[in-house]
Structures are given as structure tokens and as C-alpha cells.
């Protein structure tokens, strides 16, 4: 297996130390995320590995979390999407006003087979990472035609780390390329559900890859996003 990119242990250590300092001050540390890509015909013995710290939660994710805490009506001057605005922008290019109404029965990051409006997604776009981005630059459509991949169901695993004292959630999805030719993946992201009405689909994270990951015909791309909750102080 060729490792295209892996998490820099020094960077990860620095991030964890920063979290510990935040916990020491009883601050609420932010959620951090990592992502991993595996490519191969058999994902138990993949051909490629790409793994990195995600640094690209976008505006939608912050507004979503902030709104979950304060749930209030938004003054008129903040009713827009952008710097200083309190609106979110869904992947269908509509600006959405909080409050959001996802039920706790909804698994907001889990897309079912064929649904690339929710869960881990991949694209071919090369736009730079941008805090204000609200969908992948060029998402790979679901399907078996040229430039398409078959999106599988999103599975999830939740865990609690006794040593790190925090929760994490890993979201895993396989994308199968049977389009007849290779597809070059340049961006990955995580889309989420954001409404009871099942109509708001928002991008929470977008990561631009430092190099193209080629998925040949007959191979699968497995995307894993692991989201870490804030480290919790000792009782």
C-alpha cells in the first residue's frame, strides 16, 4: 500500500495539547476532525492511503452549532449568508434561516445508498478551501456513467476515549467506480441533514486534497470522516 499523505504526528500533538490547555481553563474546546481515504479493488488490502487532519469546517457548521445553543430569532441586519450573517446556505444554493429542526432520531451525517446530498462525498474540483464554501466545487454524481461513482450506504461507529476523555464518531462510505474509466478525486466533504422537512442539506466540511487520488475502473474509494467532540474536564 502506498501512503500518499498521513497525519503529521507533531501537528496532531500540538492540536491535542491545545485542547488540553482549553480544558484546563474550563473552556469548551472545538470539535476537530480527521479524514481518511482508501483506494483499491479490495479495501482490506487497499492500494492507496491518504489521511489528514481536517481544517475546513465551514460557516454552515458553525452557524448550525451556534444556533443549537442559543435558538433565537435573528435580527434583520443578520439575515443573510456571509461574514457577519446568521444564515446558512444549503447545497441547492438557497439561503436558510435558523432555527434548524433536526430530530435526535435523524442521523444527520449518514447518507443512504445513492444519496450524495448527505454523508461523506467526493469531488473533482480544485477550488481552494474557503470558510464560506457551501458545497463541493464539483461533486462526483452518483451512477455508473462517465465521471460517476456509485455511492454506498454510510455506516457509523461511536466511541468514548477514556484517555482523551471525549466522544468521537466515525462515518464511513464506499464509492465504487464502474464508470469504465479512471476518476481523479481532488476534494472530499461531509454533507449533513439540517431540517425535519428533509429539504435542507448543508455542507459542514470540505477538504481539498494536496494531490489527485486516482480511482481506477473497478476500484472503490472509501472515505472515513472521524469527528471528535470536545475533550471533557475531569470531574
Amino acid at each position: 500500500m502506498r501512503i500518499v499523505k498521513d497525519i503529521d504526528p507533531d501537528e496532531w500533538r500540538e492540536l491535542i495539547e491545545l485542547e488540553r490547555e482549553a480544558v484546563r481553563h474550563h473552556l469548551l474546546p472545538p470539535a476537530v476532525a480527521t479524514f481518511q481515504l482508501l483506494v483499491g479493488r479490495n479495501l482490506r488490502s487497499p492500494r492507496l492511503l491518504y489521511r489528514d487532519i481536517s481544517r475546513s469546517w465551514v460557516r454552515n457548521a458553525y452557524i448550525h452549532a451556534l444556533d443549537a445553543v442559543i435558538q433565537t430569532s435573528i435580527p434583520t441586519q443578520y439575515c443573510f449568508y456571509g461574514t457577519g450573517g446568521f444564515y446558512m446556505r444549503s447545497i441547492d444554493s438557497y439561503d436558510r434561516s435558523p432555527p434548524i429542526f433536526t430530530s435526535s432520531e435523524d442521523y444527520i451525517y449518514c447518507g443512504s445508498s445513492g444519496d450524495n446530498s448527505r454523508g461523506p462525498v467526493a469531488g473533482t474540483g480544485t477550488d481552494p478551501e474557503d470558510f464560506g464554501s457551501w458545497r463541493l466545487a464539483s461533486i462526483i454524481p452518483h451512477g455508473t456513467g462517465t465521471g460517476q461513482m456509485s455511492y454506498g450506504n454510510t455506516s457509523y461507529t461511536y466511541s468514548w476515549s477514556t484517555s482523551d476523555r471525549r466522544f468521537s464518531a466515525a462515518y464511513v462510505r464506499n464509492l465504487l467506480n464502474i464508470s469504465g474509466s479512471a476518476i481523479g478525486v481532488r476534494e472530499v466533504g461531509l454533507y449533513m441533514l439540517c431540517s425535519y422537512y428533509d429539504s435542507y442539506r448543508l455542507m459542514a466540511i470540505r477538504d481539498l486534497l494536496s494531490s489527485t487520488i486516482t480511482v481506477n475502473h473497478g476500484e472503490q474509494l472509501q472515505i472515513t470522516y472521524t469527528l471528535y467532540g470536545p475533550a471533557i474536564p475531569n470531574p
Binding site: L18, I70, T83, Y158
Partner: protein
């Protein structure tokens, strides 16, 4: 590292740390303090909102279970709400006379001042929320 330095360094990572400040005004006096006392309920709710994690179990380490102010437990991602109307002390800003020290597992004030005009009671007005955007610090 000072709290302000932690916040600045987190921003360099593209990460935002929620910060709370509380302020008390009595007559002409105003007291402003940074709040450093988030409790388990807040951590668990934030974990659930950011990561959508849910882990069953008794209230405590390893479970996302929360405990409400009446002592009952629940394990659900709930939307927060702090804009309590006048007279309602079940949510929003509340005051107390208790002196027990902070604990991660605090779920209610040690001795809340009740709404009313009797002894040791106070008239609770409605909570107003004013979202404000700070252009300088790029924060709400």
C-alpha cells in the same frame, strides 16, 4: 498558556472556541467575568451537535446522557433555548445563593433564588437575546 492565548492559537488552526462572559449590574455597579464553568450537559450537547454521536449509559463518563435541572436523565440531541419569559426560572439566566464549588456534574444551581416577591425571592424578567457580530474579532 492564558485562556486568550488558547483561543488565539485555536483560531490559527481554523478552530473556534465558544466563550461565555457573564455580567452583573446592580444599580450603578457592573461586574463582568469570563465564564469558565461549562458542565457535563454542555459538553455532551456540543458533542452531539458537532459529531452527532450518541452513546447510551448512565449519566457520567462514556455516555452522552444529560441530566435536567430536576434530576431526570435524557439522551437526545436537543436544541438549546435560553430566551425564557418573565417568571420562568426553568431556563434562561438564573441566580442563586448556594456556595458549593463548581463540579463537572452540576446540573442545577445549588440554591436557586425563586421567582416571586416573598423572602429570598426575586422578580425574574424575561431574557432578551441580542446576537451581535464583532467585525474586529470576527466572532458572534
Amino acid at each position: 498558556m492564558l485562556p486568550e492565548q488558547v483561543i488565539e492559537r485555536a483560531q490559527l488552526w481554523g478552530l473556534v472556541i465558544p466563550v461565555a462572559v457573564w455580567e452583573i449590574r446592580v444599580g450603578e455597579r457592573a461586574l463582568v467575568f469570563p465564564s469558565r464553568s461549562w458542565v457535563r450537559n454542555a459538553y455532551n450537547q456540543i458533542s452531539q451537535w458537532w459529531t452527532d454521536v450518541r452513546m447510551s449509559g448512565s449519566y457520567g463518563d462514556g455516555a452522552t446522557t444529560c441530566r435536567d435541572i430536576y434530576g431526570s436523565t435524557l439522551n437526545a440531541r436537543s436544541a438549546g433555548k435560553v430566551g425564557a419569559p418573565a417568571g420562568d426560572t426553568s431556563y434562561g439566566i438564573v441566580f442563586g445563593r448556594g456556595t458549593t464549588s463548581w463540579s463537572l456534574d452540576d446540573y442545577t444551581l445549588a440554591q436557586k433564588i425563586e421567582h416571586g416577591d416573598g423572602p429570598n425571592q426575586m422578580q425574574y424578567q424575561g431574557v432578551t437575546i441580542t446576537p451581535t457580530w464583532n467585525v474586529g474579532t470576527n466572532t458572534w
